[in-house]
Each structure stands twice: as C-alpha cells, then as structure tokens.
C-alpha cells in the first residue's frame, strides 16, 4: 500500500493531488517536449527542467506530509514518484548533508527510448534530478532550495539504473499550485452525438492509472505519466520567454504547438487504437464525428480542463476549454498574458481533427513516422487558431480548427 496525498475533487476536469494539478501525458510527448525545449543549448533549459520538477514535487510532498503527519516522509516521497508513473526512487543514501539518490527505474531514463530510432547523446532524466533534490530536502525537513540534483548515471545513456548526486541548491521560482480558475460554467457536452460523455468518464474512472510495481503506467498502448501541470507549464513558458529574448517568440510557440501535434498523434492515436477504446468508447461511435466527441470525452479525464465541442463539421471544429491547464498555470505564474499560451491544446485539437479526418484513425492505420509525415504534411491537414484565451482574460479558451 502506497502512502500518498489524497486526490482532491476539483471542478472543470482538473485532477489535483496535494494542491498540485496533475495531467496525463505519454512518453512520446515527454520526449518531444523535452527535445524541443533543449534544442538550443544556450538557453540553459536543463536547469529550468530541474527547478520546475523540484518546485512541484516539493509542494506536493509537503502537502502530503501535512495530510499524513504520522507517516514516514521517505515513504511518501518514494511512493509518490512511483504512483505518478515516474519510476522508482531510493532515498536511503541521503542525509541532511546530501548524498546520493538511486533511481532503479525511470520513465525519463527508459521510456523515452522507444520514441527515438537511435541512441541519446545526453541524459534525459533532468526531471528525476529535480524530484530527487525536492524529495531529499522534504525527507530531511529542509527548505526546497537546499539541494540540487546532478545526474551521475542515466538509463537513457545505457546505465542499468539512474543515480543522482545531491549538491548545494539554489533558489528558484516556486510552484503556483492550482493557479487561477475561470468563474464561467462549462455548457453540457455536445448534444448531437451518440457519445455519452458521463458514461465514458464513469468507465474510465474505474481503470487503474497508478504506477505499477516498477512505477510505470503502461496504458492505452502508451507509457503514461500522471505529471505535474506546473512542470509542463514552467518549462514551456520559460522556453518561450527565453526564445523571445532572442527574437524567436513565434518560432518557439510554433514548436510547442508542434509538440502538441505529436502528442495528439501518439497519445490520442494510441488511445483511439487501443483495446480500452474498443471496449469503452468505440461502441458508442456511429459516425466519424463521434470519434472526435469520444476523444474529447476522454481528454476530459486527463486533467487538461473541460473541453467542449461547440461546432463540428468534417472541415471545422470550434472547441472551448474551461480551465485549460496552460492558462491556469500561466495566470498563476506570471499573471495575465499578452498572447495566447495554450499551445499544447492548440496542437492537440488540430491533431485530433487530423487523426479523424486525414489519417482515418477509425481504420486503424499504423501510427509510425511515415503516417505522421503523410498526415501532417498533407495539404488537407488541419491547424488551430486561437479565438479566445483564458490566460488573456477571457472566461474560456476557444480554438478554431480548420484546414
């Protein structure tokens, strides 16, 4: 039995544990987002990834200890890592002065490897290093900035296990927690469909999304993580901020949207060709449009906010998102935005339409690179435009997806 903070009921499709919003993403998105933010070595994003992981992990663990003051802190920290699909962590060789954190299994160390055809040239477990630093500080009752994690061994480079050395830490931005939320109430799910969203959500709620004995979540044909929304937000927004300083803001936004497209292709595509989909959702899908509605219903179980289809035709989707996690996080971290920030959602929405209307996901294509290239380089492909942005002060985020 794992010792964890409890999951807190939260409106608008948010999944919250220990005050930290959690969102499901798969190994391919984790790989592609990390690859994107690390593209330019001059940006110094390794430290941002580390610090974002440390901030969210520390906030969640401290909340867990407040909720479970009699439970051993080391068990809370190790169990939380495993529960959320990050792998297994061993904090036994740490002390208030530092030490070493062993990572016998790591999502970032192992599960990113199937996403590439070759070998990694650099470590991938910067998240683990940040989590390890937070966990050690938490276990020994020290402030969040006490430790930094330095990667000494990483499974992504062929090591049999990960190893993180604890060194002197540094201050960094804290997690904003649940961030800001809209006062608007989402409308009910789209009516003109045979897809029953409440029934789908109820069925998905019975599935086991906890990390297995290895601390991994192989589910829907992908390797999931139940990840910190504020981690994704911090590394994405800091990436755009640093790219903007070099005059490449729009390029950075396009890259993050591309990560969303990749997410849709692999996560949504994996879900829509999975046995779970066939069992729970496909029986309700009578038309191609129902595949869009079925996937939107599923997204509403992922912690990404409440997605609502407002208009759907074979050449157009209008989607409103209440409390999309990117907007909630941006408002919590930086205040009101000057530009739309929901890049993952924009890429995901376009990717969903591409899967259904261009790739023909209902015919179960092989979701390999050739398929991706064929779809996303097609003249028939869809792209998203932001019509409203919660981060900019609107009551919801609205995306218009068209060819």
């Amino acid at each position: 039995m794992r010792t964890l903070a409890s999951y807190q009921p939260t409106p608008h499709g948010k999944n919250v544990m220990g005050g930290e919003p959690l969102v499901f993403h798969c190994n391919y998105y984790n790989y592609f987002l990390q690859k994107t933010v690390l593209l330019d070595e001059q940006l110094g994003m390794e430290a941002v990834i580390h610090d974002a992981a440390r901030a969210s992990a520390y906030a969640l663990l401290v909340a867990a200890a407040r909720e479970r003051p009699a439970d051993p802190r080391r068990k809370i920290a190790e169990d939380t890592f495993a529960q959320l699909g990050f792998g297994r962590l061993d904090l036994s060789a740490t002390s208030p002065d530092g030490g070493t954190v062993h990572v016998p299994m790591s999502h970032y160390g192992f599960a990113l490897r199937p996403a590439i055809s070759g070998e990694f040239a650099r470590p991938q477990s910067y998240f683990d290093a940040g989590y390890a630093a937070a966990a050690a500080a938490f276990v020994h009752g020290l402030p969040v900035e006490r430790f930094a994690g330095t990667i000494e061994a990483c499974m992504a480079l062929g090591a049999p296990a990960g190893r993180i050395a604890l060194t002197a830490g540094h201050p960094a931005p804290l997690s904003p927690g649940i961030g800001a939320h809209t006062k608007d109430t989402p409308p009910p799910p789209y009516a003109r469909t045979s897809v029953d969203e409440p029934a789908i959500l109820a069925a998905l709620a019975t599935l086991d999304f906890a990390g297995n004995e290895e601390g991994l979540i192989p589910r829907f044909g992908v390797m999931l993580t139940d990840h910190f929304a504020n981690f994704y937000n911090r590394i994405s927004f800091e990436f755009t901020r640093r790219m903007a300083d070099t005059g490449l803001l729009e390029g950075a936004e396009d890259l993050l949207t591309e990560a969303g497209l990749r997410c849709a292709f692999h996560t949504f595509g994996g879900i829509m060709t999975s046995a779970e989909w066939d069992a729970v959702i496909r029986p309700q899908c009578k038309t191609r449009e129902d595949w869009v509605h079925g996937m939107v219903a599923t997204v509403n179980a992922l912690g990404w906010g409440t997605w609502r289809v407002i208009e759907l035709a074979p050449d157009r989707l209008v989607l409103r998102i209440y409390d999309d996690y990117e907007s909630c996080g941006y408002l919590g971290m930086y205040g009101r935005a000057e530009r739309p920030v929901s890049h993952l959602a924009a890429g995901g929405a376009a990717g969903l339409m591409n899967l259904v209307y261009v790739a023909g996901i209902a015919e179960r294509p092989v979701l390999d690179y050739a398929c991706y290239a064929g779809v996303f380089e097609s003249a028939e492909r869809f792209s998203s435009q932001s019509a409203r942005s919660m981060a900019m002060g609107d009551g919801y985020t609205e995306l218009v997806v068209s060819r």
């Binding site: 190994n27 086991d208 192989p218 992908v222 692999h266 595509g269 994996g270």
Partner: protein, 100 residues
C-alpha cells in the same frame, strides 16, 4: 491452436505484443500460466465498460491481459525483465497458446 503475434510499433515498442488466436480459451491459457509460474502469477480483473478484462501479472516480468478483444491477448513485458526473461516468457505463453 494456431496464433499470430504483432509487436507494438510505437510508444511501447519492444514491450507489448498482441497475440491473436481464433477460439482462444482464456481459462486454459491462464491455467497453463499458473502451472508454469507456480505461485508467482498474480491475477485480477478490470471492467472496461461492458468488457471484463482479466489480468495476470508476474511482478517485474510481465502482464497478460485477456478478454479486451475477442480471440486476442496482450503480453506487456515489464521494463525490468531482461531480454532472456522476455524470450522465456514469450516462449512459455506461446506454448500455453499452442497447447489450448
């Protein structure tokens, strides 16, 4: 019994294999696995909508899912399982499928 096997081409590459066997008898496959793994097989089930999925796990080695689709079972290796263990586990499963 004859069967075919397809490996996952994407996010679970090298870990997930889907076996298709017309007339698959899940009870007999599980019985064979219980015998082969003598007390190590942990069994459970999950309700996926209208579908009951049976799960059989040997910790740190593999999971088998039965019943998700007709005439189909999925074998998902644990990451910790060595290549030799994975080959052994696939051979045992295929023997069980062939014997039913």
């Amino acid at each position: 019994m004859t069967f075919s096997v397809a490996s996952d081409p994407s996010c679970l590459r090298g870990l997930r294999f889907v076996y298709t066997a017309p007339g698959l008898d899940g009870d007999r496959v599980l019985a064979q696995l219980r015998t082969a793994y003598r007390g190590k097989l942990v069994e459970g089930h999950e309700q996926w909508g209208e579908v009951l999925v049976r799960r059989a796990i040997v910790q740190f080695r593999f999971e088998v899912q039965l019943g998700a689709r007709p005439d189909e079972l999925a074998l998902i290796h644990r990451v910790s399982a060595s290549p030799a263990q994975r080959a052994t586990d696939r051979a045992i499963l295929e023997l069980a499928l062939g014997a039913t």
